[in-house]
């Protein structure tokens, strides 16, 4: 019975497309973020607030990933950014070929920053590269302070963490210092922003970082 060597990364087909996307966007001088979180952490609200804050400073395009509905794309469009909705019809994460199809529907010459909002899920999206330059995890204080330890792969493969809904801290049992200890143990280089989209606290630092990142200054 012959043995045939394959020696291939299982996700190689996805990673080939992701590398093509990154190459295309880099050539066009567009920088790209892949934003991930559990459902309800506030990804879409963070984008709405960021787009409004940066309206005259940065041209942003958004790819919205959701299992169903175009509700989030409508919110982002209303906030003032070019938006394409991807509906995965049940799939729990975005894959690079979906992003490639969506890119054809965005006027790339009109944007400096592309934000891909992934499906709300702290597990699967971590494994699929989408052509992003950096990965951002959004986590709200209402989710409980044990999430980094429970979903380490997501926090280990991200470069930025946005802690959202800070205004709820007085009402929930959430130990901010414990969370920071957990995330820095898993990923000592993680950049952390503490924000509340509801009150606006911390959004200035986050949005200024977005501008620096989009202009290539990180």
């Amino acid at each position: 019975m012959p043995q045939v060597t394959i020696a291939q990364n299982i996700l190689a087909p996805n990673e080939t497309i992701a590398a093509e996307i990154q190459q295309t966007l880099t050539t066009l001088q567009i920088r790209t973020l892949n934003i991930m979180s559990s459902p309800g952490a506030g990804k879409t609200t963070l984008l709405e607030c960021s787009i409004a804050y940066l309206r005259n400073k940065l041209r942003i395009g958004v790819i919205e990933g959701d299992i169903e509905t175009s509700a989030d794309a409508e919110r982002i469009e209303a906030a003032g950014a070019a938006t394409v909705q991807i509906n995965t019809r049940g799939a729990c994460h975005l894959e690079a070929h979906m992003v490639l199809d969506a890119l054809a529907k965005i006027e790339l010459s009109q944007i400096e920053l592309l934000i891909i909002e992934n499906i709300g899920n702290l597990v699967c999206p971590a494994a699929w590269k989408l052509g992003e330059d950096l990965r951002v995890v959004v986590m709200s204080v209402a989710e409980g302070d044990d999430k980094p330890a429970k979903y380490p792969q997501m926090f280990a493969t991200a470069q930025v963490l946005v802690l959202n809904k800070l205004d709820l801290l007085p009402y929930v049992d959430y130990d901010l210092e414990k969370v920071k200890r957990q995330v820095f143990a898993i990923n000592p280089h993680l950049r952390v922003f503490e924000v509340s989209c509801r009150t606006g606290v911390g959004l200035d630092a986050w949005c200024e970082w977005l501008v620096d990142f989009a202009r290539g200054e990180k």
Binding site: M1, P2, Q3, V4, T5, I6, A7, Q8, N9, I10, L11, A12, P13, N14, A91, C92, H93, E95, V123, C124, A126, A127, A149, P152, Q153, F155, A156, A185, I186, P188
Partner: protein, 114 residues
């Protein structure tokens, strides 16, 4: 659900290679899966067997999974250590500066055909 998508990728790659080799049947596929890859081997095996059952070329094919430990190298004391729960801290000198050596693999090594 995650493992099902991974299993579909394996079936796609194996079907393509098997038809290139003009195989009539694939009997087994050997993988290397890192402990930090986020994949649960039992779920992957379950998903793979289900999808293989739908493929004339792969029907009844077995999945053999080699697990690769999550290892790191300490830049400070130069020792190799096992990373526990994704925390890459050297257990000997307690330093945080470590390079990950293995554990994120998701590789198809080979297949057995006839």
């Amino acid at each position: 659900m995650h493992e099902l998508a991974i299993a579909q990728s394996i079936v796609d790659v194996v079907e393509q290679r098997a038809s290139e080799c003009r195989a009539t049947h694939v009997k087994g596929v050997r993988l290397q899966i890192g402990e930090a890859s986020g994949i649960f081997p039992d779920s992957l095996t379950f998903s793979f067997e289900m999808l293989a059952g739908l493929s004339p070329l792969l029907e009844g094919a077995r999945l053999l999974i080699e697990t690769v430990p999550h290892l790191a190298h300490c830049q400070h004391c130069a020792r190799e250590f096992v990373v526990e729960q994704f925390v890459p801290r050297c257990p000997l000198c307690a330093e945080w500066s470590a390079d990950i050596l293995s554990g994120t693999e998701l590789h198809i090594l080979e297949m057995e055909i006839e």
